[in-house]
């Protein structure tokens, strides 16, 4: 993994960072690179509230905010920004407002690498709208000034249409931090953690691959 000057991660939901990119984030932090994580919403519309439910629609945001801060802490993210949008509404927002907000972060931080979702290949409308806003912001820069843009994609057709991911990081060295980041989002990951711990114990290849490797598609303009 190349040493970056500054990394900017832009996702819409607390926990978006945990599954796909927390190993990558931890690796950058461990190399001494400052990482800013801009999280657009607090996942207010999440459906997981424990079983039996320990949260409700109105208490979920503060629980998820706490979990997000905890995940950022275990990953060593020094700059966590909560942008105050509402879950499931990103695609309905004024696109210029979103673009400008991201443009101003790029201007302020001058990142050498931005990580977001690949627009059109990221399943949740908030994911696609967030990725699209980042792409618009980066496209406004002159070509030689553009930071590298690594996108996460996981729609069923992503490999078929985009080809295999061109970036695959082995993050097994920071698997513990990744595991802790996923665990930090307890309200959302409680169900899956049990299965994951079991898979880890049995060295289930699918679970190991998910934990140890993180895939990105370099965005093509």
């Amino acid at each position: 993994m190349k040493k970056e000057r500054q990394v900017l991660v832009v996702f819409p939901h607390p926990d978006d960072e945990a599954f796909g990119v927390s190993g990558t984030i931890a690796s950058h932090v461990n190399m001494g690179t400052p990482v800013t994580y801009a999280c657009l919403t607090l996942g207010e519309m999440g459906r997981n509230m424990g079983n039996p439910p320990f949260a409700n629609r109105e208490t979920l945001p503060s629980i998820r905010k706490y979990e997000l801060k905890e995940s950022a802490r275990v990953l060593g993210i020094s700059d966590l920004r909560m942008l105050g949008y509402r879950d499931k509404t990103i695609e309905f927002e004024d696109p210029d407002k979103l673009t400008n907000e991201i443009s101003s972060m790029i201007k302020e931080l001058d990142p050498s690498l931005i990580i977001t979702f690949y627009p059109g290949y990221s399943v949740h409308p908030d994911h696609d709208a967030t990725g699209a806003a980042v792409v618009r912001a980066v496209e406004k820069l002159p070509v030689e000034k553009r930071p590298t843009l690594h996108c996460v994609a996981f729609s069923n057709n992503c490999v078929e249409e985009l080809g295999e991911a061109d970036i695959v990081f082995d993050v097994s060295a920071v698997a513990d931090q990744k595991f802790d980041s996923i665990k930090a989002h307890q309200s959302q990951t409680q169900l899956m953690m049990a299965g994951m711990a079991e898979g880890l114990k049995n060295q289930d290849p699918e679970v190991m691959a998910r934990l140890n490797f993180e895939r990105f598609w370099t965005y093509k303009y």
Binding site: P52, P53, K88, H124
Partner: protein, 115 residues
């Protein structure tokens, strides 16, 4: 949240009769339903802080429950309600959790806007 107690919910619903209230109503399959099963037709609806008054309210069914509010020119309705809570702000929170515990429907009533 506690499993629905019909009498408690009915009393709470009647506590807001003929009062200007803010209503949150949502139904959802989650944004991933069609990703996990491409045959699945995903649908949902959401309204937050609709301001209204109602003249009649009822919870009914054998569980999961249905709740209807009669408003001056129409109705508000939710199906699949399993849990309720009257929170420390006096708001009535009704929710339906599916077999995995995931939220499937919510109907909430408050005299002040939800944040």
């Amino acid at each position: 949240m506690d499993p629905v107690n019909m009498k408690s919910v009915q009393d709470a619903l009647e506590g807001f009769l003929d009062t200007e209230v803010y209503v949150h109503l949502e139904t959802t399959n989650g944004a991933y339903a069609s990703h996990h099963n491409e045959q699945f037709f995903s649908a949902g609806a959401y309204i937050r802080n609709a301001k209204l008054t109602y003249e009649r309210a009822k919870i009914t069914g054998a569980g999961p429950y249905r709740v209807g509010l009669k408003i001056p020119f129409g109705w508000v309705y939710a199906e699949g309600i399993t849990h309720y809570e009257q929170d420390d702000k006096g708001r009535l929170l009704l929710a339906g959790h599916d077999y995995d515990g995931k939220l499937a429907v919510a109907l909430q009533i408050s005299t002040t806007p939800f944040e």
